[in-house]
């Protein structure tokens, strides 16, 4: 752990993670978007995506994984998810409904408009959850003991 052993790559671990993580992240997105059809939702999907990021950090090292993410990206995504939820909630006001009223979208002449609105909300939730968990993990991992 800190200071005792330098970080070393294990080929078995890095290659396995390289193969598995794309599927984990895809499953996370599927879980977010599939919440309206079956089991899932933004919270669960976001956590699954975050677990993919955390797995990468365990395999390739925290510093190396962070270096692959542009600075500020996680913070921007965390705020962006919340704003996306707020935008969907406020847009129903603009359409003549109440704040956060999915019924407004159900009355639109577009098939499944309410489902799309709910899925946008789920994506917003997922973005915020995934980035906040990743941020918490990276911040803890990089903190001075």
């Amino acid at each position: 752990m800190p200071g005792e052993r330098p970080y070393t790559d294990s080929v078995v671990v890095t290659q396995t993670v390289r193969a598995v993580v794309p599927f984990v992240v895809t499953y996370g997105l599927f879980t977010m978007l599939h919440g309206t059809k079956s089991v899932g939702g933004g919270f669960q999907g976001g956590v699954v995506v975050a677990s993919g990021v955390v797995t990468l950090a365990f395999a390739f090292g925290v510093t190396q994984t962070l270096a692959a993410l542009a600075p500020g990206v996680l913070r921007a995504v965390a705020a962006g998810g919340l704003l996306l939820f707020a935008a969907v909630a406020a847009a129903s006001l603009a359409l003549g409904g109440a704040f956060l009223d999915a019924g407004t979208y159900a009355r639109l002449p577009v098939t499944g408009a309410a489902v799309y609105a709910v899925e946008l909300v789920e994506i917003g939730i997922g973005l915020t959850v995934a980035s906040v968990i990743s941020l918490a993990f990276f911040t803890l991992a990089r903190a001075e003991p």
Partner: protein, 181 residues
């Protein structure tokens, strides 16, 4: 007719209970953290068997996955390995007292709960919210009532929850010098 899952549930609860006792007796925090992951996984499977897959998915991802990794990082930062004794039954009397009190209070409230799937439970009574949710969700074209309840009927709650998650992220960055990402 689906097979009776009660034997499976009993075995899973035994696993969960065993993992919980093992966590409580573990002297090494690292051992306790890994056992805690096993505890969460057992709970997650129990939820799925009891037909609450949404809760099961959350328990598996949050309890077994993310919490374990956050604990691992925290353990690596703080607690040195404690030596040779992996498990010990020496509990402090105060911890035992608090634990026993919680068990007694929760256990006393158990008989008041309806059995799993009881159709006469208050939640399914005429005029209760559950019936309305089940009937009204179809209007939105959403098949999963859990999602509909979370986003459509209780959207304000969920909006508040996600604001809390965001605030937690801000707090972590504020407390732990946020020059990370």
């Amino acid at each position: 007719m689906t097979p009776d899952p009660s034997l499976l549930v009993a075995l899973l609860l035994l696993l969960v209970l065993g993992a919980a006792v093992a966590v409580a007796t573990a002297r090494d925090v690292l051992v306790a953290t890994v056992l805690f992951g096993a505890y969460s996984l057992g709970l997650a499977i129990t939820w799925v068997v009891l037909r609450a897959p949404d809760v099961g998915l959350t328990e598996a991802a949050v309890g077994a996955g993310v919490t374990t990794s956050l604990f691992l990082v925290a353990v690596a930062k703080t607690a040195p390995p404690t030596g040779k004794v992996a498990f010990s039954l020496r509990w402090s009397p105060r911890a035992l007292l608090v634990g026993a009190a919680v068990v007694v209070v929760l256990g006393a409230s158990l008989p008041a709960l309806p059995t799993v799937g009881d159709p006469t439970a208050p939640a399914f009574a005429d005029g209760a919210a559950a019936g309305f949710y089940l009937a009204d969700t179809a209007r939105f074209g959403i098949d999963n009532v859990v999602t509909a309840v979370l986003v459509v009927y209780r959207g304000f709650d969920t909006f508040g929850e996600i604001a809390v998650v965001f605030a937690a992220g801000v707090a972590v960055l504020l407390v732990l010098d946020g020059e990370v990402a």
